[in-house]
Amino acid sequence: MQWSHPDVQGDVPPPCRAHTATLVDRKIVIFGGGEGPVYYDTVYVLDTVHRRWQKVDFPADAPHPTTRRAHTAVYYDGKIWVFGGGNGSQALNDVWTLTVNCPIEKMKWTKVEIQGNKQPSARGYHTANLVRNIMIVVGGSDGRECFSDIWCLNLGKILFVLLQTLEWGYSRVNSRPRYTSLGPGATRGGAPSTFSQRHTSGIVSVHHWRSRWKFLQFRYTIFQPW
Protein backbone atom coordinates (compact mmCIF):
# COMPACT_ATOMS: atom_id res chain seq x y z
CA MET A 1 0.00 0.00 0.00
CA GLN A 2 2.50 2.52 -1.28
CA TRP A 3 1.87 6.11 -2.29
CA SER A 4 4.03 7.72 -4.96
CA HIS A 5 4.10 10.97 -6.91
CA PRO A 6 5.32 10.17 -10.43
CA ASP A 7 6.89 12.55 -12.92
CA VAL A 8 4.77 12.81 -16.03
CA GLN A 9 5.61 14.38 -19.40
CA GLY A 10 3.60 15.93 -22.20
CA ASP A 11 0.55 18.21 -22.21
CA VAL A 12 -0.40 18.21 -18.53
CA PRO A 13 -4.07 19.24 -18.18
CA PRO A 14 -4.96 22.37 -16.20
CA PRO A 15 -6.18 22.03 -12.58
CA CYS A 16 -9.40 20.12 -12.73
CA ARG A 17 -12.22 18.76 -10.62
CA ALA A 18 -15.38 16.73 -11.31
CA HIS A 19 -14.04 15.34 -14.59
CA THR A 20 -14.33 11.73 -15.68
CA ALA A 21 -11.38 9.38 -16.04
CA THR A 22 -11.98 6.24 -18.09
CA LEU A 23 -9.50 3.42 -18.54
CA VAL A 24 -8.97 2.31 -22.14
CA ASP A 25 -6.18 -0.21 -22.74
CA ARG A 26 -3.79 1.19 -20.09
CA LYS A 27 -4.58 4.73 -21.11
CA ILE A 28 -6.71 7.01 -18.96
CA VAL A 29 -9.04 9.30 -20.90
CA ILE A 30 -9.98 12.49 -19.03
CA PHE A 31 -13.01 14.45 -20.22
CA GLY A 32 -14.56 17.66 -18.95
CA GLY A 33 -14.39 18.92 -15.40
CA GLY A 34 -13.53 22.45 -14.42
CA GLU A 35 -12.05 24.83 -11.94
CA GLY A 36 -14.04 27.52 -10.13
CA PRO A 37 -16.37 29.16 -12.68
CA VAL A 38 -14.61 27.50 -15.65
CA TYR A 39 -16.02 24.38 -17.32
CA TYR A 40 -14.02 22.23 -19.74
CA ASP A 41 -14.96 20.24 -22.84
CA THR A 42 -11.42 19.01 -23.44
CA VAL A 43 -10.11 15.47 -23.71
CA TYR A 44 -6.69 14.45 -22.42
CA VAL A 45 -5.15 10.99 -22.61
CA LEU A 46 -2.66 9.75 -20.05
CA ASP A 47 -0.52 6.82 -21.20
CA THR A 48 0.12 4.97 -17.93
CA VAL A 49 2.93 2.91 -19.46
CA HIS A 50 5.00 5.84 -20.74
CA ARG A 51 3.61 8.31 -18.19
CA ARG A 52 2.85 10.90 -20.83
CA TRP A 53 -0.14 13.23 -21.24
CA GLN A 54 -1.52 14.08 -24.65
CA LYS A 55 -4.27 16.60 -25.45
CA VAL A 56 -6.72 15.42 -28.07
CA ASP A 57 -7.42 17.92 -30.86
CA PHE A 58 -10.69 17.66 -32.74
CA PRO A 59 -11.59 19.36 -36.04
CA ALA A 60 -13.25 22.71 -35.35
CA ASP A 61 -16.41 21.79 -37.27
CA ALA A 62 -16.85 18.32 -35.76
CA PRO A 63 -19.80 17.69 -33.40
CA HIS A 64 -18.76 18.01 -29.80
CA PRO A 65 -20.46 17.82 -26.38
CA THR A 66 -20.77 21.08 -24.47
CA THR A 67 -18.54 21.86 -21.50
CA ARG A 68 -19.60 19.94 -18.44
CA ARG A 69 -18.67 18.57 -15.08
CA ALA A 70 -20.15 16.08 -12.60
CA HIS A 71 -21.10 13.89 -15.55
CA THR A 72 -20.41 10.15 -15.81
CA ALA A 73 -18.64 7.97 -18.33
CA VAL A 74 -18.26 4.25 -18.98
CA TYR A 75 -16.25 2.33 -21.59
CA TYR A 76 -18.18 -0.09 -23.78
CA ASP A 77 -17.67 -1.46 -27.28
CA GLY A 78 -14.68 0.69 -28.18
CA LYS A 79 -16.40 3.89 -27.10
CA ILE A 80 -16.60 6.06 -24.01
CA TRP A 81 -20.26 6.75 -23.22
CA VAL A 82 -20.87 10.06 -21.47
CA PHE A 83 -24.14 10.95 -19.77
CA GLY A 84 -25.37 14.14 -18.11
CA GLY A 85 -23.48 16.55 -15.92
CA GLY A 86 -23.89 20.31 -15.73
CA ASN A 87 -22.47 23.21 -17.75
CA GLY A 88 -22.73 25.92 -15.10
CA SER A 89 -26.11 27.25 -16.15
CA GLN A 90 -28.13 24.05 -16.45
CA ALA A 91 -28.06 20.32 -15.83
CA LEU A 92 -27.78 18.01 -18.85
CA ASN A 93 -29.21 14.65 -19.90
CA ASP A 94 -27.62 14.14 -23.30
CA VAL A 95 -25.61 11.05 -24.20
CA TRP A 96 -22.42 11.19 -26.28
CA THR A 97 -19.90 8.60 -27.37
CA LEU A 98 -16.20 9.15 -27.94
CA THR A 99 -14.73 6.56 -30.27
CA VAL A 100 -11.44 5.53 -28.68
CA ASN A 101 -10.45 2.22 -30.27
CA CYS A 102 -8.35 4.10 -32.82
CA PRO A 103 -5.25 6.33 -32.92
CA ILE A 104 -5.66 9.44 -30.76
CA GLU A 105 -5.84 11.79 -33.77
CA LYS A 106 -8.82 9.81 -35.14
CA MET A 107 -10.94 10.03 -31.97
CA LYS A 108 -14.44 11.23 -32.74
CA TRP A 109 -17.49 12.44 -30.80
CA THR A 110 -20.98 11.26 -31.78
CA LYS A 111 -24.25 12.38 -30.23
CA VAL A 112 -26.37 9.38 -29.28
CA GLU A 113 -30.03 9.54 -30.25
CA ILE A 114 -32.00 7.73 -27.55
CA GLN A 115 -34.61 5.27 -28.78
CA GLY A 116 -38.11 5.63 -27.34
CA ASN A 117 -39.34 8.60 -25.34
CA LYS A 118 -38.02 7.73 -21.89
CA GLN A 119 -34.94 9.38 -20.51
CA PRO A 120 -33.73 10.51 -17.10
CA SER A 121 -34.30 14.16 -16.26
CA ALA A 122 -31.25 16.42 -16.57
CA ARG A 123 -28.80 15.75 -13.76
CA GLY A 124 -25.23 15.71 -12.51
CA TYR A 125 -23.55 14.13 -9.49
CA HIS A 126 -25.25 10.86 -10.31
CA THR A 127 -23.34 7.61 -10.59
CA ALA A 128 -22.98 5.28 -13.54
CA ASN A 129 -21.71 1.72 -13.59
CA LEU A 130 -21.49 -0.68 -16.49
CA VAL A 131 -22.92 -4.16 -15.91
CA ARG A 132 -22.55 -6.22 -19.09
CA ASN A 133 -24.05 -3.91 -21.75
CA ILE A 134 -26.11 -1.78 -19.38
CA MET A 135 -25.07 1.60 -18.02
CA ILE A 136 -26.86 1.93 -14.69
CA VAL A 137 -27.47 5.54 -13.66
CA VAL A 138 -28.35 6.10 -10.01
CA GLY A 139 -29.54 9.28 -8.34
CA GLY A 140 -27.95 12.65 -8.98
CA SER A 141 -29.13 16.23 -8.69
CA ASP A 142 -30.13 19.12 -10.95
CA GLY A 143 -28.90 21.70 -8.44
CA ARG A 144 -32.30 22.10 -6.79
CA GLU A 145 -33.61 18.60 -6.26
CA CYS A 146 -31.88 15.29 -5.52
CA PHE A 147 -33.05 12.17 -7.30
CA SER A 148 -33.32 8.57 -6.15
CA ASP A 149 -34.40 6.95 -9.41
CA ILE A 150 -32.38 4.28 -11.18
CA TRP A 151 -32.13 4.15 -14.97
CA CYS A 152 -30.73 1.33 -17.07
CA LEU A 153 -29.35 2.49 -20.42
CA ASN A 154 -29.04 -0.51 -22.71
CA LEU A 155 -26.01 0.45 -24.80
CA GLY A 156 -26.84 -2.11 -27.48
CA LYS A 157 -30.41 -0.92 -28.02
CA ILE A 158 -29.78 2.72 -26.92
CA LEU A 159 -32.84 2.47 -24.73
CA PHE A 160 -33.42 3.86 -21.23
CA VAL A 161 -35.52 1.82 -18.80
CA LEU A 162 -36.60 3.16 -15.41
CA LEU A 163 -36.02 0.53 -12.76
CA GLN A 164 -38.93 -0.07 -10.41
CA THR A 165 -37.16 -0.84 -7.16
CA LEU A 166 -38.41 -2.62 -4.10
CA GLU A 167 -37.31 -1.56 -0.68
CA TRP A 168 -35.31 -4.23 1.00
CA GLY A 169 -35.36 -3.70 4.71
CA TYR A 170 -33.51 -0.45 4.89
CA SER A 171 -35.30 2.84 4.52
CA ARG A 172 -32.33 5.15 4.05
CA VAL A 173 -31.30 3.59 0.74
CA ASN A 174 -34.00 5.66 -0.90
CA SER A 175 -32.15 8.89 -0.33
CA ARG A 176 -29.97 10.17 -3.13
CA PRO A 177 -26.83 8.09 -3.62
CA ARG A 178 -23.82 9.99 -4.95
CA TYR A 179 -20.52 8.76 -6.32
CA THR A 180 -20.46 5.03 -6.90
CA SER A 181 -17.85 2.45 -7.38
CA LEU A 182 -18.22 -1.02 -8.70
CA GLY A 183 -16.46 -3.92 -7.06
CA PRO A 184 -15.20 -6.78 -9.21
CA GLY A 185 -17.10 -9.33 -7.15
CA ALA A 186 -20.28 -7.37 -7.56
CA THR A 187 -19.86 -7.33 -11.34
CA ARG A 188 -19.93 -11.08 -11.54
CA GLY A 189 -23.14 -11.21 -9.57
CA GLY A 190 -24.72 -8.57 -11.75
CA ALA A 191 -25.21 -6.26 -8.78
CA PRO A 192 -23.26 -3.02 -8.68
CA SER A 193 -22.26 -1.72 -5.30
CA THR A 194 -23.24 1.87 -4.88
CA PHE A 195 -21.05 3.91 -2.62
CA SER A 196 -23.07 6.81 -1.45
CA GLN A 197 -21.34 9.79 -0.04
CA ARG A 198 -22.83 12.47 2.20
CA HIS A 199 -26.50 11.57 2.02
CA THR A 200 -26.33 8.01 3.26
CA SER A 201 -23.46 6.82 5.36
CA GLY A 202 -23.30 3.38 3.87
CA ILE A 203 -22.88 1.19 0.88
CA VAL A 204 -25.88 -0.23 -0.86
CA SER A 205 -26.11 -2.58 -3.77
CA VAL A 206 -28.91 -2.89 -6.23
CA HIS A 207 -29.54 -6.08 -8.12
CA HIS A 208 -30.48 -4.73 -11.50
CA TRP A 209 -32.68 -7.56 -12.64
CA ARG A 210 -34.22 -8.46 -9.32
CA SER A 211 -34.65 -4.70 -8.75
CA ARG A 212 -33.90 -4.92 -5.08
CA TRP A 213 -31.79 -2.80 -2.84
CA LYS A 214 -29.57 -4.45 -0.32
CA PHE A 215 -27.80 -2.61 2.41
CA LEU A 216 -24.33 -3.91 3.17
CA GLN A 217 -23.65 -3.52 6.82
CA PHE A 218 -20.45 -1.92 7.93
CA ARG A 219 -18.77 -1.32 11.19
CA TYR A 220 -16.74 1.76 11.73
CA THR A 221 -13.40 1.85 13.39
CA ILE A 222 -11.69 5.18 13.87
CA PHE A 223 -11.71 5.79 10.14
CA GLN A 224 -14.67 7.39 8.45
CA PRO A 225 -14.22 7.76 4.72
CA TRP A 226 -16.18 10.99 4.40
Binding site: M1, Q2, W3, S4, H5, P6, V8, V12, P13, P14, P15, C16, R17, A18, H19, T20, A21, T22, L23, R26, I28, I30, G33, E35, G36, L46, T48, A70, L216, Q217, F218, R219, Y220, T221, I222, F223, Q224, P225
Partner: protein, 137 residues
Amino acid sequence: MNNPLTHRASRSGLSTRTSRSGRATPHTLGQTSTHPNGTTPHLPSSSARVRLLPYLPHSKDSEVAPTVQMYWSKAPVWGTMPNHGMRAHSVTLVDPVAWIFGGCDERGCWKDLWLFNTGNYVGSPSGVLFRLTRGLS
Protein backbone atom coordinates in the same frame (compact mmCIF):
# COMPACT_ATOMS: atom_id res chain seq x y z
CA MET B 1 6.38 -14.80 13.29
CA ASN B 2 6.55 -11.62 15.29
CA ASN B 3 5.01 -9.47 12.61
CA PRO B 4 1.59 -8.61 14.04
CA LEU B 5 0.17 -8.26 10.55
CA THR B 6 0.38 -11.98 10.00
CA HIS B 7 -1.94 -12.61 12.89
CA ARG B 8 -4.89 -11.97 10.63
CA ALA B 9 -4.32 -15.33 8.96
CA SER B 10 -6.91 -17.14 11.05
CA ARG B 11 -9.76 -14.66 10.97
CA SER B 12 -12.22 -17.24 9.72
CA GLY B 13 -15.59 -17.12 11.41
CA LEU B 14 -15.93 -20.85 10.98
CA SER B 15 -13.17 -21.85 13.33
CA THR B 16 -13.73 -23.44 16.66
CA ARG B 17 -11.77 -22.50 19.68
CA THR B 18 -10.75 -24.07 22.90
CA SER B 19 -12.15 -22.15 25.80
CA ARG B 20 -10.42 -21.77 29.11
CA SER B 21 -12.19 -24.88 30.34
CA GLY B 22 -10.67 -26.84 27.49
CA ARG B 23 -13.96 -27.49 25.73
CA ALA B 24 -14.22 -26.71 22.03
CA THR B 25 -17.09 -24.37 21.30
CA PRO B 26 -18.33 -23.43 17.84
CA HIS B 27 -18.03 -19.77 17.01
CA THR B 28 -21.36 -18.01 16.91
CA LEU B 29 -22.17 -14.53 15.71
CA GLY B 30 -22.02 -11.95 18.41
CA GLN B 31 -19.99 -14.09 20.70
CA THR B 32 -17.57 -12.01 22.65
CA SER B 33 -14.04 -13.04 23.29
CA THR B 34 -12.72 -13.57 26.75
CA HIS B 35 -9.78 -11.35 25.85
CA PRO B 36 -10.34 -7.63 25.29
CA ASN B 37 -8.57 -7.35 21.93
CA GLY B 38 -9.96 -10.53 20.43
CA THR B 39 -7.06 -12.89 20.85
CA THR B 40 -7.56 -16.25 22.42
CA PRO B 41 -6.29 -16.91 25.93
CA HIS B 42 -2.77 -18.25 26.27
CA LEU B 43 -2.70 -21.86 25.27
CA PRO B 44 -0.02 -24.53 25.52
CA SER B 45 2.70 -24.05 22.89
CA SER B 46 1.54 -27.11 20.96
CA SER B 47 -1.86 -25.51 20.23
CA ALA B 48 -2.54 -23.49 17.09
CA ARG B 49 -3.29 -19.81 17.58
CA VAL B 50 -6.89 -19.12 16.63
CA ARG B 51 -8.23 -15.63 16.08
CA LEU B 52 -11.97 -15.22 16.21
CA LEU B 53 -12.13 -11.52 15.48
CA PRO B 54 -10.33 -9.46 12.84
CA TYR B 55 -7.17 -7.74 13.96
CA LEU B 56 -7.61 -4.01 13.38
CA PRO B 57 -4.13 -2.49 13.67
CA HIS B 58 -5.36 1.08 14.04
CA SER B 59 -8.35 0.54 16.25
CA LYS B 60 -7.84 -1.57 19.31
CA ASP B 61 -11.08 -0.52 20.98
CA SER B 62 -13.65 -0.96 18.25
CA GLU B 63 -16.91 -2.59 19.15
CA VAL B 64 -17.16 -6.35 18.72
CA ALA B 65 -19.18 -7.27 15.64
CA PRO B 66 -19.98 -10.49 13.81
CA THR B 67 -17.07 -11.48 11.57
CA VAL B 68 -19.36 -11.67 8.54
CA GLN B 69 -19.78 -7.92 8.74
CA MET B 70 -17.24 -5.69 7.07
CA TYR B 71 -15.02 -3.24 8.83
CA TRP B 72 -13.50 0.05 7.82
CA SER B 73 -10.03 0.50 9.13
CA LYS B 74 -7.21 2.80 8.19
CA ALA B 75 -4.82 1.24 5.68
CA PRO B 76 -1.13 0.84 6.61
CA VAL B 77 0.25 3.09 3.87
CA TRP B 78 3.81 4.23 3.17
CA GLY B 79 5.73 6.21 0.55
CA THR B 80 5.36 9.76 -0.79
CA MET B 81 1.92 10.72 0.44
CA PRO B 82 -0.34 13.44 -1.03
CA ASN B 83 0.37 16.82 0.52
CA HIS B 84 -3.09 18.28 -0.02
CA GLY B 85 -6.70 17.30 0.44
CA MET B 86 -8.78 16.04 -2.47
CA ARG B 87 -12.41 15.97 -3.44
CA ALA B 88 -14.05 15.57 -6.84
CA HIS B 89 -10.85 13.95 -8.10
CA SER B 90 -10.76 10.79 -10.18
CA VAL B 91 -9.35 7.40 -9.28
CA THR B 92 -8.65 4.88 -12.04
CA LEU B 93 -7.47 1.40 -11.18
CA VAL B 94 -4.80 -0.04 -13.52
CA ASP B 95 -4.03 -3.52 -12.22
CA PRO B 96 -3.12 -3.01 -8.54
CA VAL B 97 -2.32 0.70 -8.91
CA ALA B 98 -4.87 3.47 -8.40
CA TRP B 99 -4.09 6.54 -10.56
CA ILE B 100 -5.46 9.62 -8.82
CA PHE B 101 -5.78 12.86 -10.77
CA GLY B 102 -6.97 16.36 -9.99
CA GLY B 103 -9.63 17.31 -7.51
CA CYS B 104 -9.75 20.27 -5.21
CA ASP B 105 -9.54 21.31 -1.60
CA GLU B 106 -10.18 24.63 0.15
CA ARG B 107 -7.15 26.12 -1.65
CA GLY B 108 -8.33 25.36 -5.18
CA CYS B 109 -8.02 22.67 -7.84
CA TRP B 110 -5.00 20.46 -8.53
CA LYS B 111 -3.44 19.05 -11.68
CA ASP B 112 -1.07 16.59 -10.11
CA LEU B 113 -1.07 12.86 -10.29
CA TRP B 114 -0.67 10.41 -7.41
CA LEU B 115 -0.29 6.68 -7.51
CA PHE B 116 -1.50 4.39 -4.78
CA ASN B 117 -0.38 0.79 -5.05
CA THR B 118 -3.01 -1.36 -3.39
CA GLY B 119 -0.68 -4.39 -3.26
CA ASN B 120 -0.48 -6.06 0.10
CA TYR B 121 3.04 -5.06 0.99
CA VAL B 122 4.15 -2.86 3.86
CA GLY B 123 7.55 -1.44 4.59
CA SER B 124 9.59 -1.97 7.72
CA PRO B 125 12.35 0.17 9.23
CA SER B 126 14.92 -2.30 7.88
CA GLY B 127 13.71 -1.73 4.32
CA VAL B 128 12.40 -5.27 4.03
CA LEU B 129 8.89 -5.53 2.60
CA PHE B 130 6.39 -7.68 4.46
CA ARG B 131 3.44 -9.09 2.65
CA LEU B 132 0.09 -8.76 4.38
CA THR B 133 -1.94 -11.93 4.54
CA ARG B 134 -4.62 -12.36 1.91
CA GLY B 135 -7.19 -9.68 2.42
CA LEU B 136 -8.06 -6.82 0.15
CA SER B 137 -7.38 -7.60 -3.51
